[in-house]
Point group: C2
Chain length 289, copies 2
C-alpha cells in the first residue's frame, strides 16, 4: 500500500481508543464506530470521523480494525447482514484484534474470502499500558502476504509483532498466553497467601523469589497489588473468564486435557460469583484471604 | 568473626560440592562429610579435610553447613545421638541449607538453643547453575544477629541473600517459591501442549508470549527444553515432589487451601509413577504429549 489506507476502527474502549489514537498520530485517515458514540469523542477531537453505522464504516474503508468485547460481538459485527463482510469493498482487509474464538476467526476468514475480502485475526497482549505506549504484542493469523501488507499498521500500535500462521493462529496463540497466565495466577496467589499465613513479610518474600526460578511478570507486577489490596482492573476478571472459556472449549475440541486451566477458571468463576467480575485479575487473591 | 571460622560441610552432592568449593576458594578451612566419601574427592583435592563422622566434623567446626536430600536426612544428622547438636561446641553456628520442613527447622533451633548453639535455616534457589556461579538466592530464618555474623559466608555462595525472620522463615519462604513454581509449570506445559495440538509452531508462540504478561523464568528456560524433548534434570522431579509434599502439609497445618499446588503435586506424582522421578521438572510436559 503506497498511499495510506483508509482505516475503519470499531470498538473505542480502553484498548481501542489508544490504538486508534496511534493510527491518527501516524496520519492515517480513521473512521470510527462505537456502540456508545460518546466513547469515540476523544478520537473525533483528534481528527477521526464518526461513522453512522458499521455498514457505512465498512463501505468506506480499505482496512477495518476491530477490538470489541466478546465473541458474540465479533460475530455480530462481522457476519451480520448489516455487518462488515457484507458491506466491505472487494479487496478490503479486515483485522479483528479482539481476543475471540479461533473457530470464529476461521469462519470469518472463509466468509470474507468468498467475497474476495482478506482477513486476519490479530489479538494482542500488553493491556491498557501496552496499548497506550504502543508496546503491544500482536499475534497474527491469516495469509502471510496480507500480514506483510498491513505490518506498518501493526507497527504503529505494537512492538512484538509475530505472524503465527493460518487463519485462527493469532487466536490460538493468544489462548496459549492466557493458559500460561491462568495457572500462574493460582501459584502466585497461593504463594502470597502462604507467606501471609506463615507470618512472613510477603514483600521480603518477593525480594527473595522474584529474581529466580519462581520469577514471572505476574509475580513482579500483580503480587505487589494483591498485597496492597489494590484490585483495580488492569485486565477485567470477566474478560479473563471469557478467555478461559474459549481456551477450555477449544482444548476440548482438540481432546487436550488442561486441568490447570480448568481449576483456574473455576476459581475465577467463584470470584465473579462473589462480586469480583469487574475487578482486575489480581483480585483472585481475595479467595485466599 | 575476625578470624576465618572453621567450616564443617555436610552433603557434597551437585549443589554442596559447588558451594563448599566456593568456601575453599575464599580460603575458609573446610572439613567435609558425605555418606558416600567418594563424592567428596574433588573437594579434598582442593584442600578440604575429610571428616570420619558427623560427630567428628561437628566437634571441630565453628560453623556447620549442611545441604542434604530429605527432611529425614536433616533430622538424622542434626538430632541423632551421633549428630551435630549433640557434638558441636557451645557457641557454634549451624546452618541447614537443605529445603526441608519449617517445623523441623524450628525444632532444630530449639534443641540447639538448649545447648547454647545457634542455628539458621537457609534454603536456596537457583539450582546447579546458581550454585556453580555463586548466584544462589539464600532465604534465611533464625536470629538476625546470627545471620549478620555469617553473612560473609553466604555472600561467598550466593547473590540474593535475604533475612526473612524467625526460625523456620527461610523454609517458609522457600515453600512460597515452590508453590509459585508448581502451578506455573502446569500453565507452561498446558500452553505448549495447546500450541502443538492447534498446529502452531511453539517456538514462534514463545516469541509472541514470553516478553509479555505470560512471561516467566520457567517459560523462557524450561519450555524450550520441553519442546526439544530435553528432560535432563536441572532440578529433579523427585525432589520437587518432596518440596510440594512439605508445602501441602504445612499449608494444611495453617488451614490454608492451595488447590493449584495440590493439582501440580498430583500431576508430578503421576509422572513419577510413569518412571519420571529422575527427570528434570520440565518433564511434566510428557503427561500432555
Amino acid at each position: 500500500m503506497k498511499q495510506k489506507p483508509r482505516i475503519g476502527f470499531i470498538g473505542t474502549g480502553v484498548m481501542g481508543t489508544s490504538m486508534a489514537g496511534h493510527l491518527l498520530d501516524a496520519d492515517y485517515p480513521v473512521r470510527v464506530f462505537n456502540r456508545t458514540p460518546l466513547k469515540a469523542e476523544s478520537l473525533i477531537a483528534k481528527g477521526a470521523v464518526l461513522a453512522e453505522s458499521i455498514a457505512d464504516l465498512a463501505a468506506e474503508s480499505d482496512v477495518v480494525v476491530s477490538i470489541v468485547g466478546f465473541p458474540k460481538d465479533v460475530e455480530e459485527i462481522y457476519l451480520g447482514k448489516a455487518g462488515i463482510i457484507a458491506n466491505a469493498p472487494f479487496g478490503a482487509i479486515l483485522i479483528d484484534m479482539t481476543t475471540s474464538r479461533p473457530d470464529l476467526a476461521i469462519k470469518i476468514h472463509k466468509d470474507a474470502s468468498a467475497r474476495k475480502i482478506a482477513s486476519l485475526d490479530a489479538p494482542v497482549s500488553g493491556g491498557d499500558i501496552g496499548a497506550r505506549e504502543a508496546r503491544l504484542s500482536i499475534m497474527v493469523g491469516g495469509e502471510e502476504d496480507v500480514f506483510n501488507q498491513v505490518k506498518p499498521l501493526f507497527a504503529v500500535m505494537g512492538k512484538n509483532i509475530v505472524y503465527q500462521g493460518n487463519p485462527g493462529s493469532g487466536q490460538f496463540t493468544k489462548m496459549c498466553n492466557q493458559i500460561a497466565i491462568a495457572s500462574g495466577m493460582l501459584g502466585i496467589c497461593e504463594a502470597m497467601a502462604y507467606a501471609e499465613k506463615s507470618g512472613l513479610d510477603p514483600t521480603l518474600v518477593l525480594k527473595s523469589i522474584e529474581s529466580g526460578a519462581a520469577g514471572s511478570w505476574s509475580l513482579s507486577n500483580l503480587a505487589p497489588r494483591m498485597l496492597k489490596g489494590d484490585f483495580a482492573p488492569g485486565f477485567f476478571v470477566k474478560h479473563f473468564i471469557k478467555d478461559m472459556g474459549i481456551a477450555a472449549e477449544s482444548a476440548g475440541a482438540m481432546n487436550l486435557e488442561i486441568p490447570g486451566l480448568l481449576l483456574a477458571k473455576a476459581q475465577y468463576e467463584k470470584l465473579a460469583e462473589q462480586g469480583g467480575a469487574d475487578d482486575g485479575t489480581q483480585a483472585l487473591y481475595k479467595l485466599y484471604e
